[in-house]
């Protein structure tokens, strides 16, 4: 693996390698279809528990509390969207942790294809299979649950923002994985990242329910671009909010890619110096 980003001359080769890795990831996930099916069932169980929580909160409708601001149909579909993305993102941090800490990274450095781009592309392929399978499960659950269906436009917005949000999730977890250059185990940064997803991503509650300052902070973070914006399209679908979310997602893909490149270079330097 090169320690520097690909130059213009070999960008085409890098893209080809990434596309091939994406296809490998997609095919390997589809081949393990029983696990995909198990994940879809797991998604259904998650929804059962989490919607029970919010249905209980919404049923109380206590005066003077935020319960009165919950949507009439509850947060079941909103949770369905955020969990769809969450459970589709693959644990790239585990692979990076393993390779970095076990020394399995070094053989890749001798090869002409970029290790990190290929790893991210493989995980994106895995994620695509999960997104498809869980989406099918989600639509089935929505049909049998008797809950009100979102409008087709809202579903289209959710589909686009959800897929891009999933890719942002891979980039976030990639940063966590690269922390293995400095930490023996990536569990603590992983858990902190997950909690930020709960708090700022809207995984715990929609960020539209937050006080204005916290909502602004959440919207400016990559976590809303990862999860929250797709979920909000279920509560209040709007073309302008969709465009705003797309712009922020594009910004965060660029910003996170830059951060990953920086972390990779710094980490690789440590590896080549024998510090890791």
């Amino acid at each position: 693996m090169r320690s520097s980003p690909p130059s213009g001359a070999n960008l085409l080769g890098t893209t080809r390698a990434a596309l091939a890795a994406y296809r490998v990831g997609l095919a390997s996930s589809l081949a393990a279809w029983p696990v995909l099916l198990g994940r879809a069932i797991f998604y259904g169980v998650c929804l059962t528990v989490l919607t029970a929580f919010w249905d209980k909160v919404g049923a109380a409708r206590l005066a003077g509390t935020l319960a009165t601001r919950l949507p009439p149909g509850g947060l079941g579909v909103y949770i369905g969207v955020t969990e769809w993305i969450t459970l589709s993102v693959t644990p790239i941090q585990l692979r990076l942790e393993d390779d970095i800490r076990s020394g399995a990274l070094e053989p890749h450095l001798l090869r002409p294809k970029p290790y990190l781009a290929q790893t991210i592309a493989t995980e994106a392929g895995n994620m695509t299979a999960r997104l498809g399978m869980i989406a099918l499960g989600a639509l089935l659950i929505l049909t049998v649950s008797g809950r009100v269906w979102p409008s087709p436009l809202a579903l289209a917005f959710v589909g686009v923002l959800g897929v891009i949000g999933g890719f942002i999730g891979i980039l976030l977890y990639c940063l966590v994985g690269l922390s293995a250059f400095w930490l023996r185990k990536v569990l603590p940064p992983l858990l902190i990242m997950q909690k930020l997803m709960f708090l700022l991503g809207g995984l715990f509650a929609p960020i539209s329910l937050y006080p204005p300052a916290l909502r602004a902070l959440a919207e400016a973070s990559p976590f809303a671009a990862h999860l929250g914006f797709a979920g909000l399209q279920i509560i209040a679908p709007s073309a302008s909010a969709f465009c705003f979310a797309l712009a922020l997602q594009a910004f965060w893909i660029l910003a996170l890619s830059g951060l990953i490149a920086l972390a990779w270079r710094a980490g690789l330097k440590r590896t080549l110096q024998g510090v890791v």
Binding site: A60, R184, P188, A205
Partner: protein, 258 residues
Amino acid sequence: MGVASTYVAQQRAAIRTSFADRANFGLQVGGMAVNNGFWLVLWWLFFAGFRQVGGWVLSDVARLLGVVYVIFGASGAFFGGYRDMAGAILRGELDAYLTQPKPVLSRMLARDSIPSSWGDVGTGLIILAFSARLDLAGVGLVVAAIVIGMVAWLATTISFGSLAFWFAGARSLSRDLADFTLMIATYPSSIYTGWAKIAAFTVLPAGFVGMAPVTLVREPSPQAAAVAIGGALGLSVVATLLFSLGLSRYRKGAAPGS
């Protein structure tokens, strides 16, 4: 050496290894404390907005969190090999244990001690000290609840990890199953009715990890003790069976995931 003394010796070595890199150890413990603080802040924000859920208020959730953090932390510190059991199976790391005379499962559990787990134990104890208002009998009940919850949690994660004997993609799935079980173990038990309750006591047995042990602390009774202990024992039987079946398959040469 007996099984127990082998376990203790191996685990002591794992703990010493986890302490060896002091800076890394401190970072991991601190990171976990921050993580736990986040979760408490989330619940604080929730109750600031919604006041209560099914009769549970912030102090009830804080006590639940305290117990669950200590369960999770003590499991990681003293039985840390459970955390990536599926990964170890898929990497073929069982082979070395199969050539040795001691039981495979105990060797796998003792192979690691997770440094960040001490952060869980610490924050759990601090939360309990501030939220539980315990007398001596109460302390005894909390200790019993933690031991029961640990048995239930370890049994649950061993069952999830054993999926790797059958499925190649089980590493990620078993982690997600374990993480989600842990997460819903920190939700107020008052939310569980109908299908959610069935799920929380069967496929994702968070009910036996957090809810039943904490009920024993909140409302001690022979019935609460029977549910908590019975659940933990039942899960242990399932975990032992699943692991034994998988190991028997592995011994016969079936590659993990095939």
